[in-house]
Symmetry: D2
Subunit: 266 residues, 4 copies
Amino acid sequence: MTQFLPGAIVITDNRKFLRVVHTGETDAVNLPNGSISLQEIAEIGLGAIFEVNGKKYYVLECDTYDLVMKGIKRDTQIIYPKDAGYILLRLDIFPGKNVGEAGTGSGGMTLIMARAVGSSGCVYTYEKNENLADRIRKNLRPKEDFENVRLYTRAVEEGIFETGLDAFFLDVRDPSRALGAVYAALKPGGHLGVLVPTANQMSKLLWAIRDYPFLITETAEIFLRTYKTNPSRFRPDDRMVGHTGYLLFARVLQESVRLKTEPDPE
Amino acid sequence: MTQFLPGAIVITDNRKFLRVVHTGETDAVNLPNGSISLQEIAEIGLGAIFEVNGKKYYVLECDTYDLVMKGIKRDTQIIYPKDAGYILLRLDIFPGKNVGEAGTGSGGMTLIMARAVGSSGCVYTYEKNENLADRIRKNLRPKEDFENVRLYTRAVEEGIFETGLDAFFLDVRDPSRALGAVYAALKPGGHLGVLVPTANQMSKLLWAIRDYPFLITETAEIFLRTYKTNPSRFRPDDRMVGHTGYLLFARVLQESVRLKTEPDPE
Amino acid sequence: MTQFLPGAIVITDNRKFLRVVHTGETDAVNLPNGSISLQEIAEIGLGAIFEVNGKKYYVLECDTYDLVMKGIKRDTQIIYPKDAGYILLRLDIFPGKNVGEAGTGSGGMTLIMARAVGSSGCVYTYEKNENLADRIRKNLRPKEDFENVRLYTRAVEEGIFETGLDAFFLDVRDPSRALGAVYAALKPGGHLGVLVPTANQMSKLLWAIRDYPFLITETAEIFLRTYKTNPSRFRPDDRMVGHTGYLLFARVLQESVRLKTEPDPE
Amino acid sequence: MTQFLPGAIVITDNRKFLRVVHTGETDAVNLPNGSISLQEIAEIGLGAIFEVNGKKYYVLECDTYDLVMKGIKRDTQIIYPKDAGYILLRLDIFPGKNVGEAGTGSGGMTLIMARAVGSSGCVYTYEKNENLADRIRKNLRPKEDFENVRLYTRAVEEGIFETGLDAFFLDVRDPSRALGAVYAALKPGGHLGVLVPTANQMSKLLWAIRDYPFLITETAEIFLRTYKTNPSRFRPDDRMVGHTGYLLFARVLQESVRLKTEPDPE
């Protein structure tokens, strides 16, 4: 069963991901105890098990999770999937949506949002650190998948070019400085999401956001606790991630609203 | 600023959601201390604040989260957004994907997956309880949004009509009985996700899945811990959800694979 | 099997505690669907099951946990057992130790520490709110158990009368203001424990403690997640306590230390 | 300020414990970048800071926590302090109590309970693995502290020599086999505590305990989440312990109880 190999595959060793392979770039895949040619992999196809010198490996199509966790080069802390999935849902990031982001970091969340909005939507992402731009561009390759991403090398607080965006995700050191620009870029009722690592940053953000017409819908953190898969000894793993960040979600209110029969509410 | 009102809006009172309003069905919205006409709401528009007898309300477009948490009628336990977001990401449910589900329950996860795959994808959902069918159909209205959902009133273990699906999500009492049907419906490398409430069910599932060519990629649970939004007293809420379910994720391997130069690994 | 009834018993209804009964004060115990005389309870004895109008009840000796959770009147937030047990261990509060506390609150932690140090130790507890004093004295009755507690109606920052204490537990609004007094009251190497509800308070405390010769040994929080007891459906309870407080533990260093052969480290 | 050095001291390097030193056994303490004599340590005293080749160290009296976490040799998984503190409180282990334990393991929990019951109480501990006996005896040295511990090299299910115990703590592979012996050893109303690592073991225990007159008071697990101590960047540590064990607490009911005016409840 020879199958066409997609742009990227992942070779995994039981539960540990080993390699994401961009299939156009290489002829052979080096593994801990040997190597295998892409030709051989293409012949056995996706979902196959193969052995090299007595050790089993699995061939899988590289999905978005694999790409973010193993397939991109990181200069910065990535957004963990446990947070990313909830952010997608909370910011209502679905096909056709136009979404902003700052900072881009290594592009992991950019990539996830680009997949979610699809070819009918767009992700506008702002990264002020010029040294990251090349890294991001490499991570967002292959181009055909991420034509819906526009990257600006620019600090978000200097202004956002777009208006009427459906949602904006902020992952910058001081999100309180970006609130004005982000408010201006979002449509009424649009969604804001922020991730900050420390309680002090969240406290500062909660003060700052009071000056803008946002309705806070949730402040939260998410834990992922993994389990061992032995059916006769079901129990959590000994260690887990203790923290990634605090999340804030809010929705955009109109700057000034008058209801004919009512006094101004503010 | 008169705006077109979308199919559903949500009226919220600070952080507590009050009402999802399907705008075609009603002329006025009843609130705890009075009412407001849809005409007035349309005039003030999305993102507006209004007051009725001294109490402030907010008008927001009903998003997927609102719809699942407040806008659908429930006869069964819903999938919580903390789990749903992670499931989307782990099953790689993005635009254009063809996804199966069983059981449908009240249709909350169906709705989320239908949004995620968009008009170029499809959700095939199996629910054996005939009494739920009407409820589900009402929850998935308005039709124009969910033309990409096909509902079968049928037990999943009796067989799945589709083949080559990208992903399948199982939320049934005994998922181990459905593994054969689900395996047959998924493409090689396809994604399986399962949610079960008890440790006993997960243990049973972990035994049963050993008889099928699935590669388990993760067993996990997710916690969402919300925080109070007072910037000078930042702290978690006093109470939180202690449990929804245990999650299992796996990928489909080929039924039999032979590598020319290697012995059969199994 | 007639048994002597101790100072307090607890009547419980399956897993829900109903009543702590101080046996000297009453002749009969009122229950949701009837009553039973203390004479009858004494005759059936500790560990007995009895029925009143078809409902089962259990008679148990009131232990420290029962007393703190159900047997004391509360005007303030109590220290939860999940935190109290860890505090005992972290502050090395064992028989014979002399321990300070501020504020006393409703006396729950006072009572736990008094039990732990026993008759050869002592708990010195400071509460500035005079209105609480009567409540605390009632909660610490019967006197014979808590002769080792000395209660001062006094703000801890006004000074602690004791010196050379083994440990001190701080549960006051602004613990940073008490650090000087507490440092003076503790012996070298002595243990400090602090509980604060908010991240802002902990941040402020972490700043303030830098001015004193304390070695921070841990900053932490503790979660207790309870489970259902159905053996064929083992799973966590639906809801849990999301937060009680943040804990800090530290040990007292000498104010100034000179090592002959080494320069002053500070 | 020369101080008498207690039986054991701990040398620590900021928040990382380095060494527990049994002061009678050695003349000098080896450290990562040099050494210091016990004579010098005794001269500077408890709570002192000293430097060796530019690196700061702290001298502290070894407390129970230090002893369990760093001062004992382990052949088996220890009971973590987060669990041990709660177990003490839940089993009402305070001065004067007579407490049983099986298995002893490396003796960490034995040591904690021995401290808690003091010289007026006693800990009877059963360990079937004869190879552990020497290790345990070494860990429970110095003898003067733990004269209140009696160690039996015997499987608990073969029978417990004591009766009328206040509490029993079970940490064995199959606690369900020990329930009969433990029930016989406890007084009416006495406390049972069990720790098991897996959900399967807890499920099995919950089945087995139904055959004995125990009242289950709680099934739970405890998380300890530590935080960084930087006051301007307050946040949890990146990693935490994901699991130690599931806990069950129960109290002993009478084997048969008759209330004159009521039918037998069982």
